[in-house]
């Protein structure tokens, strides 16, 4: 089971990188949180029953963990919150791939925790049914929500402010 898990994680490592970038973009503890997601994935792995694709399960557990970490940060003794205002996205001037990526991540970073989860799933080409399955909201509501988040994201990318 261990080898199988390691192999699956290696194959889907990109998903974890994206989730960490979306939730902990400029957090100095990003690496630690990445490791915490790995640990929680391994703990939850016996509960994966092949009823859905591995990537769907991976998204569900990793997103839950990332949101859980953020949620509980205020109760941690070494809590150090980074101001969201630090992320001023209108400062980017170059238009290289890397800058575009940063710009996009910075914009997504300004969304609410649940909105981040929904938009990352949408951008990763998951359909409404799958997004609804991972998030727990209805398919109809998923569609409405995605449209709203997209509008918000476009505004953020164009103007840099929420």
């Amino acid at each position: 089971m261990e080898k199988e898990f390691i192999e699956l994680i290696r194959r889907h490592q990109g998903i974890l990188h994206k989730i960490c970038n979306v939730y902990f973009l400029r957090d100095p503890y990003k690496e630690d949180y990445y490791q915490e997601i790995l640990i929680r994935l391994w703990k939850a792995y016996p509960g994966f029953k092949n009823q859905s694709a591995f990537s769907t399960w991976l998204y569900r557990v990793a997103l839950n963990t990332a949101i859980d970490i953020i949620r509980k940060q205020s109760l941690m003794p070494s809590h150090k919150e980074l101001s969201k205002l630090e992320y001023n996205i209108s400062e980017s001037k170059n238009t290289t791939d890397s800058d575009n990526r940063d710009k996009l991540y910075l914009a997504i970073n300004q969304l609410a925790d649940i909105e981040k989860a929904i938009i990352i799933l949408y951008l990763e080409d998951y359909n409404y049914k799958e997004i609804a399955e991972i998030t727990g909201i209805s398919e109809t509501h998923t569609g409405v929500k995605i449209n709203r988040i997209k509008t918000q994201l476009i505004k953020l990318l164009n103007h840099g402010q929420k």
Binding site: R60, D68, R101
Partner: protein
Amino acid sequence: MDKNDLKLMWREAHIANIDNPFAKVSIEKSMGLKHNKLISGALSDIRLKLILYAILLVIYLVLMIYAFVYLRLKLSVNALVPLTLAGIFLLITATSEFVRLSILTKTADNLSLKDSMMSFRRKLKRIKLADFVFCLVFFYLLAFIAVFNYLTDIGGVKNLSGATGIVPVYLLAILILMLLSVPWLIKYQNNLRYKKLESNLKESAQQLNVHQSDGGL
């Protein structure tokens, strides 16, 4: 920019083969851990505090039982008040650390985001309620014992207005009022402490379209 450009932008942003930013983190090593170093350290700090307060509380209780039950010691109010306050402080700090640890270790990762949030919210509510009920029972019982002992000492309710009391009635009233208000003060303090967590949960509930009828609220 058009709405449909977002997916294209996302795809283009991830075309380039970027180095693994987490290359230092070993999957194999992580699998053997309970938590990462940062969270482990934070939880250990809380555990250490909890153990320390629990040990002090046990020592305190043993000493109190030894003094009042075994030696049948009779102390003046001046000596009893600081002793009681010390016990109350130890009890409150130990339980609040226990509650914090319980909240931090509760997870439900295998569920959907909505179910996980609702499950956590239910657990948080249960932990807070249990803490409040425990304090309520403990301090109200303590108040009852104080009144009962006082009345026994002065020889019944009929002597309440007289000057036969070892402790003046107003002092007893202040003490009882203090004891009765402690659970509510703890509840208020907990609401302040978990304010950020609660507001995050509230925001998530709104985003996930959770209604009262869905439960967990």
